[in-house]
Chain length 205, copies 2
Amino acid sequence: MPRSPGPRGEYAKTAKRRQEIVAAAFDVFARHGYPNSTMSQIAKRAGMTMPGVTHHFPTKSALVEAVLRERDLDSQSHLEGRRGLSVLQGLMENADRDEHEDGLTQLFTILAAEGTGKDHPAHAYLRHRYELILSAVQRAFEEAQADGDLVSGVVPAEAAQVYAALSDGLQLQHLYGVGQVSQTALMRRFLDGMLVTPVEGVTGS
Amino acid sequence: MPRSPGPRGEYAKTAKRRQEIVAAAFDVFARHGYPNSTMSQIAKRAGMTMPGVTHHFPTKSALVEAVLRERDLDSQSHLEGRRGLSVLQGLMENADRDEHEDGLTQLFTILAAEGTGKDHPAHAYLRHRYELILSAVQRAFEEAQADGDLVSGVVPAEAAQVYAALSDGLQLQHLYGVGQVSQTALMRRFLDGMLVTPVEGVTGS
């Protein structure tokens, strides 16, 4: 069945064009790494001129932000309709997926580090993103606690911070190829340590 | 008492000059943040010409590496002559100190992220640095275990990876100003969770 056209032809065309650029950027970033990727490679990959790309995304930062927004929507949709323990399991599944996408992980790692500067173009977006992640994970731990799934003594706000920190820090180790134990195994062990009934099949080796 | 001159005048002069540049770079990075700092600001701060600086340090990356090497020597000297639990306590003290030096923390965070690229000039240095940290922390946990200071079930290699990951990830949260609990409080709580006798005065609030 053909897709129905959008309400306005120009709007739909712009949205499609932006989507093509984001897909091309994702590809180029993942292949060459973020630092080595250039806007002209991305334009070439998208089959467009440089001004055609910069009209939609003036900088590489703006593009990487768009790539991450799209990825975040994917991750969120994987968690939709879940609560408590099931959200935590979904987070582990997202982590499993990310462990095999080094280009994207590197992309996010570098943007997150560079974005710590208050005048970085993606600073506000990234700060807000961290707050959303922390509050979503905290809520999942609170729900799991209310459902009787957590061992006693777990503080949801702290567990959320530790979860996010572990995730970021283990990704960095993974990118450097250091450490004997995989990031997903350690994340699962961390989660299992807080659960009354450890998640099935996640002993982590 | 005056310092004795080095074995060769030229060598000593070069070493002194390099040290002055590193000190100037530390200053400029800490004040303006790594991304905004320029080689010409650093040259000005050191009272030198640009070619004078680039003769010793051709790039900003080379300079930041030198700054970090110096900082690592400081951190290591704080741990000298210790073993086991005492090393772990020393690590927490280093973390306390770092929490108040955002410029330096940001510097390291960005370099560590950018250095994940295998062709980055500091990649080999940073990878080696991670390996040294992981093995030193692992050894400290092994010694603490042999001394009977750890609760049962702790795996030193894993504890080391988790320690390093938490440290990196919580620094990132700190730089973004997100999360309700301080990084040092969470690090201490993590450590206390593994100790037979929690460290004095570190309940973490």
